[in-house]
C-alpha cells in the first residue's frame, strides 16, 4: 500500500519527535522497515497500518519500534490532528492515491478499528487517549477498557503482560483484569485490560492529604492574641499532629501496605522464590555509591558503605521474588473496591533483563517509602511557609502505617521476608539508600533543583548508620 523505502527516511525524522521514543539524545543512523501490515482499510479510507521498524542508533544498540499509522486521502480535513502536528509523517503516494499519513492512535475511527483487530469479541462506541507515557500509549474505550499499545518492542514477553496475566492466574484481584493481549512472533504488541473508572491515584490523594495538613497551619482558625474575648471564650482547635488534621492519609497508607504484601505473596506464588544472600545485592549497590557520591561526600560515603557492608554480612535476607520494580504512589489506584496496582513494566530506562531479575520484596517497599518522602517534598514546594517539620511528621506517620499494614499482611502467608526484624530493617535501609541514590543521579541529570529531595534521605540514612555503630 505504501512503499517501505519511501517510509523509512520519514520515520527517521518522525521518531525523535515522539515522546515515547526513548533515545532522543542519539542520532538515528538508519531506519529499516521490517514489515508493513494493513490492519484496516485495505482498498478503502481511512486505512490503518502497523509498521515494524528497526532503528540503528549511533553509539547504542539497535531498537525496534512499532508505529501505527493512519492514512486518509489528502485534502480531507482531519480535525483530530489539530495541535498534534509532530504526529504527522507527511503525504505519500499509495496505490489508492495520495494520502496523509499520521499517528493512527489520534484517530478515533482507527482506534476503534484497532480494538476490533485485537479483541474482535469486544465492542466499544467511544475512545479517548490517556496521557502519553514513556514507552507506550494508552487508549480508553467507553471508560470500560484500557488498551496499552507498546511503542518500543522487545523480544520475549513484555513484563507488564507477563506479570498481570500471572497475577490474575494466581488469584490476585488487585490488578486491572486482563481482557486480551495482542502478540506476534513472540512479541507483545498491545494489552487490553479493564479500565478502573472512577479511581484516583495514590499520589493525588497523598497530595490532597498534605495540602489539608499544611492548611491547618496556614489558614487554621487561630484565636486572637491574649484574652480578647474574655474568660470562657472557646478556643478553636488547632491541629499539629497529622493524626488530628483533616485529610489524614494513614488509613489509606495502611491499606496500600496490605495490598503490597498481597501482591508480593502472589508474585512469589506465580513466579517462585529464589534463595539469595545479601552479598548478591551488595555489588551493584556499591557501584552506585561510587557513581553518585563524590569525594566531597565523605561522611555519606562512609555511612553508605556501612549500610552496604551490613547487608553483605546477611546470609539470609529473605527470598528473592519477581517484584514490581518501579513501585510508588502513582502506581496504585484507589477504587471503590480498594487499592489496585498498575504498571509492571519496571523502570523503562533499564534493560529488560534487569527489570525482570528477582529481587527482595523490600525493594518495592523502599520505593513506596521514598514516594511518601517525595509527596511531602512536592506538597511543600507549593507552600510559602517552611512547614518541613509538618511534612516530616506526615511522612513518618504514613511510613509507619504503610509498614504496619505491610508487615501484618506479609506475616499471614508463606514467608517472603526475613523473620528477624533487625535483619529486615538492615535490608530495607540498604534498598532505601539504593533507591535514593538512583533518584539523586536521575534528578541531577534531569531536575537539579529536585536533587535535594533524595539527598535528604541519603543524609538521614547514612547518618543513622554512622550513629548505629
Amino acid at each position: 500500500m505504501i512503499s517501505p523505502t519511501a517510509l523509512a527516511p520519514s520515520l527517521a525524522e518522525y521518531l525523535p519527535r515522539q515522546r515515547w521514543f526513548g533515545a532522543k539524545d542519539r542520532t538515528i543512523e538508519l531506519v529499516r522497515v521490517r514489515s508493513i501490515e494493513v490492519l484496516a482499510g485495505d482498498g478503502s479510507w481511512p486505512a490503518l497500518l502497523r509498521v515494524d521498524a528497526e532503528v540503528s542508533l549511533a553509539g547504542a544498540d539497535d531498537a525496534r519500534y512499532q508505529v501505527l499509522l493512519g492514512l486518509r486521502p489528502t485534502g480531507v480535513a482531519c480535525e483530530f490532528l489539530a495541535g498534534h502536528e509532530p504526529a504527522v509523517l507527511g503525504e505519500f503516494d499509495t496505490a489508492q492515491g495520495q494520502a496523509l499519513v499520521y499517528d493512527a492512535l489520534l484517530d478515533a475511527e482507527l482506534s476503534l478499528a484497532l480494538l476490533r483487530v485485537i479483541a474482535p469479541e469486544r465492542s466499544a462506541e467511544r475512545v479517548r487517549p490517556l496521557g502519553a507515557e514513556q514507552s507506550n500509549t494508552s487508549l480508553v474505550y467507553d471508560d470500560a477498557m484500557i488498551l496499552k499499545v507498546f511503542r518500543r518492542l522487545t523480544e520475549g514477553h513484555n513484563p507488564e503482560v507477563e506479570v498481570i496475566e500471572t497475577l490474575a492466574k494466581v488469584g490476585f484481584t488487585s490488578v486491572p483484569e486482563p481482557l486480551a493481549s495482542w502478540r506476534k512472533d513472540g512479541i507483545d504488541l498491545a494489552f487490553l485490560q479493564r479500565f478502573l473508572a472512577g479511581a484516583s491515584d495514590g499520589w493525588n490523594i497523598a497530595l490532597t492529604s498534605l495540602r489539608e495538613l499544611f492548611a491547618e497551619y496556614t489558614i487554621g482558625a487561630a484565636p486572637p492574641p491574649g484574652d480578647a474575648l474574655g474568660a470562657g471564650a472557646a478556643t478553636p482547635f488547632e491541629a499539629t499532629d497529622p493524626a488530628d488534621a483533616r485529610g489524614d492519609f494513614a488509613a489509606e497508607a495502611e491499606r496500600i501496605g496490605e495490598v503490597t504484601a498481597e501482591m508480593h505473596q502472589a508474585l512469589a506464588r506465580g513466579f517462585g522464590t529464589h534463595k539469595v544472600s545479601g552479598d548478591d545485592y551488595a555489588k551493584a549497590m556499591e557501584e552506585q555509591v561510587e557513581h553518585v557520591l563524590g569525594p566531597g561526600d565523605a561522611a555519606m560515603v562512609d555511612g553508605a558503605r556501612r549500610i552496604i557492608s551490613r547487608l553483605r554480612e546477611i546470609s539470609e535476607p529473605g527470598p528473592a521474588i519477581r517484584v514490581h520494580g518501579d513501585y510508588h504512589l502513582a502506581q496504585v489506584l484507589r477504587t471503590d473496591g480498594g487499592w489496585f496496582v498498575l504498571d509492571f513494566e519496571g523502570e523503562p530506562a533499564r534493560p529488560l533483563e534487569e527489570r525482570t531479575r528477582p529481587s527482595s520484596p523490600l525493594k518495592d517497599v523502599a520505593g513506596m517509602l521514598r514516594s511518601f518522602s517525595y509527596a511531602a517534598a512536592v506538597a511543600l514546594s507549593y507552600q510559602e511557609d517552611d512547614l518541613s517539620s509538618l511534612g516530616k511528621a506526615w511522612e513518618s506517620r504514613n511510613r509507619e502505617c504503610f509498614m504496619a499494614g505491610y508487615l501484618r499482611k506479609a506475616a499471614e502467608a508463606e514467608p517472603i521476608l526475613p523473620t528477624d526484624p533487625a535483619v529486615r530493617s538492615a535490608v530495607l535501609a540498604a534498598f532505601e539508600l539504593d533507591k535514593a541514590l538512583y533518584e539523586m543521579a536521575y534528578e541531577r541529570a534531569n531536575r537539579p533543583d529536585w536533587a535535594r529531595i533524595p539527598l535528604g534521605a541519603v543524609q538521614r540514612l547514612t547518618s543513622e548508620a554512622a550513629r548505629a555503630i
Binding site: 467511544r126 484516583s200 485529610g247
Partner: protein, 551 residues
C-alpha cells in the same frame, strides 16, 4: 377538596420530605409546647419552601420517656398536641396545599404504660398474656445485641408482678410486642387502617428489623419479619393505593434492600450509611468514602426509593461504619464527650460543618442530586444549631426559630413554661438566626434552598433517573450524571476547602452544551478533549446537558 393525586402511586420517588417534631415547630395555644394547630398555621411556609411530604415524629399518647416512641395509645393524640380532630384537620389542610403527611409508627414495641402491657403483666393466662415476649429466664436469644448500650445491660427486664422477664430491644420501659401472636398482628394492622382511613399518606415504620425473635439468630431481619411486612403491604395496596411505607432499618445496604422485597414490602428505606460517609468525605477532602458506599448499594427494585438525609432527629449513625472509620469520625466530630450518645453523635448539620455556609450548600446540593428522596430536618433549612448540654436526643429538638421575638416566635407562653429553651448563643441563637430574618435576606441559606428545590422539581431525573459516577483524576471532586428519558444533568462537587480543577471525560456528550441549572448559564460546548472545570472551595455545579442551542 384534596389537591393530592391519589392515583399517583409513585409520588414518593420524586418527593422532598421534611421531618418535623410537632412539639418543636409552633405553639398555637400558648402553652409552651408545639401543637398540631401550630403546624397547620405553618403549612404555607412549608409549601413555599417546596416540601412535598411531612414526616411527623410520634404524636400519640405517651408517657414521653423516649420522645414519644413509647406509645401508650395508638388511637389518641398526645393531649399537649391537640385532639384527633386536629390531626384530621392537619391532613386536610396539608392535602389542600398538595402536601402529604406520613407519621412515625412504632410497630416493634409499646410503652410499658400501654393497657395491653398492663393487662399482659397481670398473669400468665389473661387474654393478652401472650401479646408480649415473656420468659422465666433471661438467657434466651443471647445472640441479639444490645442497642442502647449506654442505658441497658440486657434485652430482658424483670416484671415483679408477673414474676417473669419480658423482652425489650430498646429501653426497658418499651416491651417488645409478640408478633408470633396473630392477634398482635391483627391489632397492628387495625391501627394502620385507622390512620389510613383518616387520610394519612403513609408511615415511617420504626425499628422494623426486630419484630420477631428466634433462638440461634441475632433476631434481626428474620424471614418472619419480612413475611409480616409483606402482609402489611398487601393490606395497604388493597385498600389504600398511593400511600407509602418507609422502613427504618439501620443495616448495611445489602441487608436493607431486603425490606423492599420484590417491590412487595416497604416502598422506601432509609439509606443510613451514606450520610456518615458524606461527612467523612468532607473531612478527607476525598470522594471515595461516598463512592465506595454507593458502589456497595444495590439498585432499588422497580417502584421503590431510598430515603436520604444529612441529619435527622437521631444521632449521626456510626453503627454501620467499620471500626477504623468509627474511631475516625468520633475523633473528628466528638472531641467533647458530651457529644457522644450510644455509638452516634447528636449534632445538627450547621455545627457539624462548623457553620460553613458553603458546606451546607454543597451538602444540600448533594442531598438533592444523589439517588434517593431527600429528607430535610426541621430547622436545618436556616442552619439552626443544637444544644449539646441537653440530655438524650433533645439537643437537636429545640424550638424552631421563627423570629427574633420572645421565645424565638415559637410560643407566646412564659419563657419558663417552654418545653425547652430556644437557642440563645451568639452564633446560632434565635436573635441572630431565625426564619423571619432569613426570609428578609434574599441571599440567605433559606432562599437558596427554596430555589434549589424549585430547580430540583423541574427534573424528575433527580428522583428516578439513572446514576453514574464519572472518572476524575482529582480525588477531591465527585462528579456524576443523572439521566432520565433524554434529560441529562451533570453534577460536579468539590469536597475540598480549596479551589480545585477537574478534567471530565464527557465524550459521550460531545457536541452538546452544559447549561448551569441555577442561572441557566451556557458553558463551552463539550468537545473531543476532556472537559476542564474549575470549582471554588466547596463549590458545586449542576449542568443540564442539552443539544447546543443556536449561537
Amino acid at each position: 377538596m384534596s389537591e393530592i393525586d391519589r392515583t399517583d402511586e409513585r409520588w414518593f420517588q420524586r418527593a422532598v420530605f421534611y421531618e418535623v417534631s410537632v412539639r418543636s415547630f409552633f405553639d398555637a395555644n400558648g402553652d409552651g409546647t408545639g401543637d398540631l394547630q401550630g403546624l397547620i398555621e405553618k403549612l404555607d411556609y412549608l409549601s413555599w419552601l417546596g416540601v412535598d411530604c411531612l414526616w411527623l415524629l410520634p404524636f400519640y399518647s405517651s408517657p414521653l420517656r423516649d420522645g414519644g416512641y413509647d406509645i401508650s395509645d395508638f388511637f389518641t393524640i398526645l393531649p399537649e398536641y391537640g385532639k384527633l380532630g386536629d390531626a384530621v384537620r392537619l391532613m386536610e389542610e396539608a392535602h389542600r396545599r398538595g402536601i402529604r403527611i406520613i407519621a412515625d409508627l412504632v410497630v416493634n414495641h409499646t410503652s410499658d404504660q400501654h393497657p395491653w402491657f398492663q393487662e399482659s403483666r397481670q398473669s400468665t393466662d389473661n387474654p393478652r398474656a401472650d401479646w408480649y415476649v415473656w420468659s422465666d429466664e433471661d438467657k434466651k436469644y443471647s445472640e441479639a445485641r444490645i442497642i442502647f448500650t449506654d442505658t441497658e445491660r440486657s434485652n430482658w427486664a424483670w416484671d415483679s408482678n408477673r414474676q417473669q422477664y419480658y423482652w425489650h430491644r430498646f429501653f426497658s420501659h418499651q416491651p417488645d410486642l409478640n408478633y408470633d401472636n396473630t392477634e398482635v398482628q391483627e391489632a397492628m394492622l387495625g391501627i394502620l387502617r385507622f390512620w389510613l382511613n383518616l387520610g394519612m399518606d403513609g408511615f415511617r415504620l420504626d425499628a422494623v428489623p426486630y419484630l420477631f425473635e428466634r433462638e440461634g439468630t441475632n433476631c434481626e431481619n428474620l424471614p418472619e419479619t419480612h413475611a409480616f411486612l409483606k402482609r402489611m403491604r398487601k393490606e395497604v395496596d388493597a385498600g389504600y393505593p398511593g400511600r407509602v411505607l418507609l422502613a427504618e432499618a439501620n443495616q448495611w445496604p445489602s441487608d436493607v434492600v431486603d425490606y423492599f422485597g420484590d417491590s412487595d414490602e416497604c416502598h422506601m428505606c432509609f439509606n443510613f450509611p451514606l450520610m456518615p460517609r458524606m461527612f467523612m468525605a468532607l473531612r478527607r477532602a476525598q470522594r471515595h468514602p461516598i463512592t465506595e458506599i454507593l458502589a456497595q448499594t444495590p439498585d432499588v427494585p422497580e417502584g421503590c426509593q431510598w430515603g436520604i438525609f444529612l441529619r435527622n432527629h437521631d444521632e449521626l449513625t456510626l453503627e454501620m461504619v467499620t471500626d477504623e472509620e468509627r474511631d475516625y469520625m468520633w475523633n473528628e466530630y466528638a472531641k467533647d464527650p458530651r457529644m457522644k450518645l450510644n455509638i452516634g453523635i447528636r449534632r445538627r448539620l450547621a455545627p457539624l460543618v462548623e457553620n460553613d455556609r458553603r458546606v451546607m450548600e454543597l451538602f444540600h446540593a448533594m442531598l438533592f442530586s444523589l439517588p434517593g428522596s431527600p429528607i430535610l430536618y426541621y430547622g436545618d433549612e436556616i442552619g439552626m444549631g443544637d444544644n449539646i448540654f441537653l440530655g438524650d436526643r433533645d439537643g437537636v429538638r429545640t424550638p424552631m426559630q421563627w423570629s427574633p421575638d420572645r421565645n424565638a416566635g415559637f410560643s407566646r407562653a412564659d419563657f419558663a413554661q417552654l418545653y425547652s429553651a430556644p437557642l440563645m448563643d451568639p452564633v446560632y441563637g434565635y436573635q441572630a438566626l431565625n426564619v423571619e430574618g432569613e426570609l428578609r435576606d434574599p441571599s440567605s441559606l433559606l432562599h437558596w434552598l427554596q430555589r434549589m428545590l424549585q430547580v430540583r422539581k423541574r427534573h424528575p431525573l433527580f428522583g428516578i433517573g439513572s446514576f453514574e459516577v464519572l472518572t476524575a483524576e482529582n480525588p477531591s471532586v465527585l462528579a456524576y450524571v443523572r439521566e432520565w428519558e433524554g434529560d441529562v444533568v451533570l453534577c460536579v462537587n468539590n469536597l475540598s476547602r480549596f479551589a480545585q480543577p477537574v478534567e471530565l471525560s464527557l465524550q459521550r456528550f460531545e457536541g452538546r452544551t452544559p447549561i448551569e441549572l441555577l442561572g441557566r448559564v451556557p458553558f463551552p460546548r463539550i468537545g473531543e478533549l476532556p472537559y476542564l472545570l474549575t470549582l471554588g472551595a466547596y463549590g458545586f455545579y449542576w449542568f443540564q446537558i442539552v443539544e447546543t442551542p443556536l449561537q
